[in-house]
């Protein structure tokens, strides 16, 4: 009897200890999160009072920026088109480079291990270098204008597209592919008749999403001299033409929202 009761008591004690341990762990996590927030406030030198004293300056800028200078709307057409086309060029060139890399970087279809690691490495590298850095690099290489912007987006897109394409290929249902191989179909036929139709809708969806992101990036790339609305915005700011700045911000807003809506609608259609 006693022999039976003792281990039970042991279990109870162990249960109490683990409950205490769990609440201690929760407290530790809470403290850690607080610590992280406090150090962030200190490091960024957050001074809310400056915001209040700065209200005057901000009100002044807003006053000088209104109403937006719509007389210049004609002049924004070309930079706007440039911004969108930089994104389109960057996305398409990115897709063309990402596709073969993704095939090499998908564990289930890669022709060999060395290719797999090389492709993974390249994809990781292009993604980890920010598009602004790529833009600076290409502006130095090929000069100012929209072309270096397009190149920057293309190279940076390889990273995200390559990774998501490879993941899509890896998660594909292999049964139909294997069945096709057993019929005696050739490798290329298995690829075009089995792999491509299985993954194409997902790849298109990912690409549309990337186009949307690239349009937003392309707006900023102008700041480093890579053409488009961003360049226009930078110039207007440097010349203190705040009414033109506000016009450009409105155009930016319309482009971003339009791209987002269009991309979402098209992706819905694909699903």
């Amino acid at each position: 009897m006693i022999g039976g009761a003792v281990p039970q008591q042991g279990k109870l004690v162990a249960g109490g200890a683990s409950a205490m341990l769990a609440s201690a762990a929760r407290l530790a996590v809470l403290l850690a999160v607080l610590l992280i927030i406090v150090q962030a406030l200190i490091v960024v030198q957050a001074r809310p009072q400056d915001l209040i004293t700065g209200i005057h300056g901000m009100a002044d800028i807003i006053r000088r920026a209104t109403p937006p200078d719509f007389s210049h709307i004609d002049d924004t057409f070309w930079p706007a088109l440039e911004t969108i086309d930089i994104a389109i060029f960057g996305t398409i060139a990115g897709i063309i480079m990402a596709l073969p890399l993704a095939v090499l970087a998908a564990a289930n279809v890669t022709p060999s291990r060395p290719f797999y690691y090389a492709a993974r490495g390249l994809i990781g590298f292009t993604r980890s270098v920010p598009d602004l850095v790529w833009a600076l690099f290409f502006v130095t290489a090929v000069g100012l204008g929209p072309f270096p912007g397009g190149l920057a987006l293309a190279v940076h897109s390889i990273g995200m597209l390559g990774r998501l394409f490879a993941e899509t290929i890896e998660h594909m249902d292999m049964a139909p592919i294997d069945a096709l191989a057993l019929t005696g179909a050739r490798r290329l036929q298995i690829f075009t008749h089995g792999v491509v139709p299985s993954v194409l809708p997902s790849l298109l969806g990912i690409s549309l999403y990337r186009l949307d992101e690239n349009i937003r990036s392309s707006l900023v790339l102008g700041f480093v001299g890579a053409g488009g609305i961003g360049f226009q915005l930078l110039t207007a700011m440097n010349l203190f033409q705040y009414r033109e700045v506000s016009l450009l911000l409105i155009v930016t807003f319309v482009i971003v929202l339009g791209a987002e809506r269009l991309s979402a609608a098209l992706r819905q259609k694909l699903a």
Partner: protein, 247 residues
């Protein structure tokens, strides 16, 4: 036509799924394999088709040993051997008709088929094969929208498009209603008798086996339990196949 000798397979985790298995199927013959769950039936068919590499043994189709082939020679040998797997394995995003026609790809070496196209003649033939399994009215539908039984019949039509000499079928009527199951068994029977195919078919429906088989092979724990003309298979022998190992 199909001759399997001493076929053995062990999975990487140590399971000995197939041991010294012998079976042969002549042209025009319908041989049915009966056996309990996990007895090695799927492993047998997959080893024959070289979807798995058997550890030992020979698989001769028309005298050619498949286990010794690789690359282009293996691909060519596979043209004669159609597999209807336990799960339909269709390309879900493509139409039923296209799925059936892909069964014929191996016979075509054109740029058009390499780029994802299907020969017009094969699409026409695919309509006929779909009619044979009673599904021509679904030709334009996406394969992903089919019911389980419909998908299985499309997979059978795809095997027909391949024009095989040997047909391996793993539970081809598993998810079919009784009428459709009879239709498919009659079709397999007719393919053997009229087109001189060698048909090796795994079933769980003992009654269908009695009704349609020329020969019945019993498999238990990866070994041949019996291999007899249909008329000589006793109910007792079949019953023993499904008793648990312990009994």
């Amino acid at each position: 036509m199909l001759e399997v000798r001493g076929l053995s397979h062990r999975y990487p985790n140590g399971t000995e799924a197939l041991a010294e298995f012998d079976v042969s199927v002549r042209a025009g013959e319908l041989v049915i394999v009966l056996g309990g769950n996990g007895s090695g039936k799927t492993t047998l068919l997959r080893c024959i088709a070289r979807a798995l590499d058997p550890a030992a043994g020979a698989v001769r189709v028309n005298g050619t040993d498949l286990t010794r082939l690789s690359g282009e020679k293996l691909r060519r040998a596979r043209l004669d051997l159609a597999v209807i797997s336990q799960h339909a394995a269709l390309v879900r995003r493509r139409s039923v008709l296209a799925n059936v026609a892909t069964g014929a790809l191996g016979r075509h070496a054109t740029l058009w088929t390499a780029l994802g196209g299907l020969p017009a003649g094969e699409l026409e033939a695919a309509h006929r094969h779909l009619a044979e399994v009673g599904l021509d009215h679904l030709a334009r539908q996406r394969a992903g929208t089919l019911s389980g039984g419909q998908a299985q019949r499309v997979a059978i039509a795809r095997a027909l498009a391949q024009h095989p000499r040997v047909l391996l079928a793993d539970e081809p009527v598993a998810s079919l209603d009784p009428e459709a199951a009879e239709d498919i068994m009659r079709l397999l029977r007719r393919l053997a008798a009229e087109e001189h195919l060698a048909v090796l078919c795994v079933l769980h429906q003992v009654e269908l086996a009695y009704r349609y088989a020329d020969r019945v092979v019993g498999i238990r724990a990866g070994r041949v339990a019996f291999d007899l003309p249909c008329a000589e298979v006793s109910r007792e022998a079949v019953h023993r196949l499904y008793l648990s190992e312990a009994a």
